[in-house]
Point group: C2
Chain length 240, copies 2
Amino acid sequence: MPNPTAAMLVIGDEILSGRTRDANMHYLAGQLTEQGIDLREVRVVSDDPDAIVAAVKALSGAYDTVFTSGGIGPTHDDITADCIAAAFEVRIDVRADARALLAEHYANTGRELNEARLRMARIPDGATLIENPVSIAPGFTLGNVHVMAGVPSVFKAMVATVLPTLTGGAPLVSRTLRIDRGEGDIAGPLGTLAASYANLSFGSYPFQQDGRYGANVVIRGTDVAEVDTAFAALEAQFPA
Amino acid sequence: MPNPTAAMLVIGDEILSGRTRDANMHYLAGQLTEQGIDLREVRVVSDDPDAIVAAVKALSGAYDTVFTSGGIGPTHDDITADCIAAAFEVRIDVRADARALLAEHYANTGRELNEARLRMARIPDGATLIENPVSIAPGFTLGNVHVMAGVPSVFKAMVATVLPTLTGGAPLVSRTLRIDRGEGDIAGPLGTLAASYANLSFGSYPFQQDGRYGANVVIRGTDVAEVDTAFAALEAQFPA
């Protein structure tokens, strides 16, 4: 059975303007690979309702699971929750359980649960809350879409909550051989070898070091024994 | 007149598996912002022909300019050029000018221009070459799509070649105010202020430092005077 598929939607002008370098994509990619879920596509869109709604619809229709990052804070530019509700055509309002989490948190920390902070308790109808042990304001899951914060520490904590609830597949295993020859010299035999292992993927990632060319060849697959066999063949083809 | 729009397509299993952290998106975002070109969307797809062709068609139809990164080397997993040709429904083959560049380079460096390396001279009909001062194998421009290497040093060099050929808009200027208060405390007045400057974007980026909450508020726009006026209003609203 093929592994479940996933997509990620990163929401935020700050990434597209170059102000902030996204860190969540790389983190999620590694976590999903360990869990045997194939991350097939990532999209980054700006804080624009039409763009967010269109991307949510496209990705949630095309993949088993979608993860979003960003836009669920208290400020005017945090519009993700409303866009998710629009994409699924459901109502959204402050919800009692989310409000209670925030009320307790702000009471404990001596801060006011004002109108802006209450925005973080706006949850689309039918959604399940995602716990946020870092700063309390919850994410949520609606349909196959998991809506999470963009702040990396909060994003990580929410991923840790969501991942165990998902059905993973066979974890992808990989083995890497460093070959100190130019990609152009290894490409022919490497392509032939790759073609003979239909269940595995062979990636070649060139590098240059001290003026010399080389490549890291990565063999990936879900069957450890098959990866090991292919790796042995690769080593035999390209002895150190 | 609104600024020209752009999208980026990052191609590569290594990004989606978490093996490699993409660096080109952040670099291109910064360069485009300086040039007054609005990067509106980024997509990351795997080394899958259908996914690449579909993304190229969607992005080249929706935005003024598209930049791709990755998949133009000599190995079997380098399929970007063929996918671009398929997306534009044009023929692709080894082209004399690209072949001549490679032939000279490999002659000079004492390496063989073999069949694998010749793959890097496969250029879709009607494309213009993009110079590669780092490792010679060229990128190319077809229609509104600029096809560039994934290796960051080569990507940067190709961006430097392409950008001066594009019509930019008014560069986006930004000013940032650090406010040492929680986002929830500033969100109300900040939203009111943002609503009164329709031509500017106000972004709020929360942080936590030594257990205290704060936010960097960024005002962006193309009219420097208007950004300065709004920034003064922001400082008056949130004195240090």
